[in-house]
Symmetry: C2
Subunit: 229 residues, 2 copies
């Protein structure tokens, strides 16, 4: 559910959401948790990336996932096999997670776990290259994924996601030999939107780039907090 253009109402909604996101982030900060918000088109590989990441960083970091989907717990169930808590949020007809939904997820998480024992919370957003980019949820960094199959023009056509991203994963690089993709042009297009974004080409199939991604994830994690709520 989403409105047609109405500047006044739209700004108001974004302000309310921003307040909620700031509140979520305060909680994460007090618990010493880093929150990363993963966003992409459907099928770009967010869930498989999280599977690889949970498997690789188990034992090094204490992690949880807030998993957003319109319907089903298919992705949540895939991720639960890796031993980390996975809180599923079904958004119904909504095309993105907002701060209030994630606050609900944090609340459920707190019922069963001591958040201060966690280092890292991944938010997997609804598959959508447009709307999630506008709604902060309390994350410390935004991670966008773009599959090589989507084409090199997408940063120009869907600029907000690429402007907002702190890290961009170019996924499914194993498919490049079978595509008419100009990877250099893609990178140039990304840089024209966001000169400072970290770009990491990855393939969950061959493992290319995953170590670089894990290193980036670990570089985002905070020193444990000394304060408590």
């Amino acid at each position: 559910m989403h409105q047609t253009f109405d500047a006044a109402l739209g700004l108001n909604l974004l302000h309310v959401n921003q307040d909620g996101a700031d509140h979520n982030r305060e909680h994460f900060d007090q618990w010493g948790i880093t929150c990363l918000n993963l966003m992409s088109s459907p099928g770009a590989g967010k869930t498989v990336l999280l599977e690889k990441t949970l498997a690789a960083l188990q034992g090094q970091l204490t992690m949880a996932v807030i998993e957003g989907d319109m319907t089903t717990e298919l992705d949540a169930d895939r991720l639960r096999q890796y031993g980390s808590p996975v809180i599923a949020i079904n958004t119904g007809r909504s095309c993105h997670l907002d701060a209030k939904m994630v606050a609900g997820g944090i609340h459920r998480f707190k019922e069963d776990y001591n958040p201060s024992e966690f280092d890292l919370v991944f938010v997997e957003n609804v598959g959508n290259l447009v709307c999630p980019a506008e709604f902060e949820v309390g994350e410390h960094a935004k991670v966008a994924l773009l599959s090589v199959t989507e084409g090199e023009d997408k940063p120009l056509k869907y600029p907000i996601m690429f402007q907002e991203a702190d890290c961009l994963l170019i996924t499914k690089t194993d498919l490049i030999p079978h595509l008419d993709l100009d990877l250099e042009k893609l990178t140039t297009n990304v840089r024209s939107m966001n000169p400072h974004v970290t770009i990491i080409p990855v393939s969950a199939k061959t493992g290319e780039g995953l170590e670089t991604w894990f290193h980036w994830v670990k570089s985002q994690v905070k020193v444990p907090a000394t304060t408590s709520i």
Copy 2:
């Protein structure tokens, strides 16, 4: 720009949009135009499908395109090479075309052309598997595209698009040998959402399925109208 969940406001917006869509459709009907609304995730292949379709059906049908993109006229410029009128609509921050935007496109189209001379208008929606499914624009049929790279679970996770579609094109079938895709499971998942949808697997690269698609398009075209506005 889009709202967080608000049932009353949301319903109102959808009602207003529906009235606009019905009005657009009345115009199309009076001109004897069939309107097809193409929707998919970014990069599923809407534009290349339209390129192939405009090229193949030139001389058989008089066609126009209303091309929706957040920014840029990249796709519109690609399509203009085929000789049919292409009206570009930039949606700005909006994640979908709505009836009012398409009405604006129709108005511009009328300034330069006699609509009664046209048989078919394609609307290429913003790349988004969620939001466009809820906003009719006056189309006679909805065409959804799903790339084989997006995975067989997508009909379950993004149900509205698959429930609404009259025709589903499964695109990029040439990539199937390089993927872990269960095409039968994908088809079963689609049918579980929408038992009656026409499913056409296609590859713009090899040409697979394109003749079937062209045939379906032609089957949608009306007998020329005798009334005028």
